[in-house]
């Protein structure tokens, strides 16, 4: 069986036939070539695969591409506008919020959701909002700083 889906990713519309068991993360990476959305654990724990689906941050290793039919999706590739980094991207660079960078796309998408819901979070609120995202490098402090930097510069 295959399912016809139509999705808008970073403003561009795509139509494909997908196998029901194809996860959205593999559709984004393998069909659309958008490899900025990473696969860390593949078990819904690490948050590396976080993308924005209809305004909600979702771990897309745990969502079927078929479930996304009709959805508007933003991945890390869609955040910068006209060659200018998004304030969150700029802030991660500015405050050294990454080392290897593997977790960074997911961190930024989860932080995007936080700032959209709460423009002036406390440090504790930032930590709570990033509970679903693991970083194995930074020790998190610079990530918190980056999110606060972005909140201040917005």
């Amino acid at each position: 069986m295959s399912v016809a889906i139509k999705v808008t990713v970073n403003g561009q519309t795509h139509e494909h036939e997908v196998e029901p068991r194809q996860m959205l993360v593999s559709y984004l990476r393998e069909e659309l070539g958008l490899t900025g959305t990473h696969v860390g654990c593949d078990t819904s724990n690490c948050g590396a695969c976080t993308a924005i689906v209809d305004g909600q941050a979702v771990k897309v290793c745990t969502m079927l591409a078929a479930q996304a039919d009709g959805a508007e999706i933003t991945t890390i590739e869609g955040l910068a506008a006209n060659g200018t980094l998004h304030p969150l991207q700029e802030a991660f660079r500015e405050t050294h919020g990454l080392q290897c960078g593997f977790c960074t796309p997911g961190m930024i998408m989860a932080a995007w959701q936080l700032l959209e819901r709460n423009a002036t979070p406390s440090d504790a609120e930032v930590r709570h909002a990033l509970e679903g995202n693991f970083c194995r490098c930074t020790g998190y402090d610079n990530i918190i700083k980056a999110v606060q930097h972005a909140a201040e510069s917005a």
């Binding site: 068991r21 724990n45 948050g47 479930q67 679903g132």
Partner: protein, 271 residues
């Protein structure tokens, strides 16, 4: 990790979904319990019936002193609902500490209740608040009191051909949910909900036993009211006579201790 191949249906209504149900088909709501299990091939249904976008299942409304919540309402929607916070704060508090923001954006109350994980957060709140679970099947509908819903590990009173459509939560005067989260998974090692309505207090636990349960011993010991001494004496009886879970993270003794501590915390919050 890739699940075993399956067919995918996205019915437009509850009636259509019920028609599609069969021994080999499973409902898909938020997918945040089912899809991980399918990826690990612990579960391999032949078909999924995606009810995640059936509009008639997604709502929170007041209905004569009761808060009615549609089955596919997400944890995030419940955690951020003023109506739920004002009338059933234990439920809003439980929703707000499930997993992480991404999980709360996708996971649904109907899916969590049907899945009946022994460490899930909602069941304690549902029991303490005296909620009813409204279900519909090929033979019509019924309403299951929370006290009769949770039976055993991953086992509920739901029949295989039934769909949860709504959760009905009577407004409480005061209620609270507190939990000791597993440091990695965020599931409840022990979670306790307490609710008072019309002078009666109900106390329920999740994470402690195979299924969430009302603690009648604690409730009976509270007949003297919610004074500090009364709460301490009642909380000391938490999980008495109950078979208690033990795993490599928390042994039986430790879980019993946590049950007492979290009973006291929950009761102190509503005192």
């Amino acid at each position: 990790m890739i699940p075993v191949a399956f067919d995918y249906h996205r019915p437009a209504s509850v009636d259509e979904a019920i028609e599609l149900l069969s021994d080999d088909a499973k409902l898909l709501a938020g997918g945040h319990s089912l899809l991980p299990a399918m990826k690990l091939r612990l579960s391999s249904p032949g078909a999924l019936i995606d009810i995640g976008r059936i509009a008639e299942l997604n709502y929170i409304r007041e209905d004569g002193g009761t808060i009615a919540i549609g089955a596919t309402t997400t944890h995030q929607q419940i955690a951020s609902s003023d109506l739920v916070s004002a009338n059933a704060s234990a439920l809003a508090q439980a929703a707000s500490v499930i997993g992480d923001p991404q999980v709360r954006n996708k996971g649904t109350i109907g899916g969590s209740l049907a899945h009946a994980d022994p460490a899930a957060d909602y069941p304690a709140a549902i029991l303490a608040l005296g909620a009813e679970i409204v279900v519909r099947g090929s033979d019509g509908g019924r309403s299951i009191p929370a006290d009769e819903f949770f039976i055993d590990l991953f086992l509920t009173a739901l029949a295989p051909d039934e769909i949860i459509t709504e959760v009905r939560v009577p407004a409480a005067d005061k209620s609270a949910y507190v939990k000791f989260p597993h440091p990695a998974s965020r599931f409840a090692v022990v979670g306790c909900a307490a609710a008072s309505a019309g002078g009666a207090v109900k106390v329920a636990f999740t994470g402690v036993a195979n299924a969430a349960f009302r603690d009648s011993g604690v409730e009976a010991a509270l007949s003297g009211g919610l004074s500090e001494e009364g709460i301490a004496a009642a909380a000391a009886r938490a999980a008495d006579g109950q078979e208690v879970l033990a795993d490599h993270f928390a042994g039986e003794e430790y879980r019993r201790h946590l049950a007492k501590v979290f009973a006291r915390k929950a009761l102190a919050t509503i005192a």
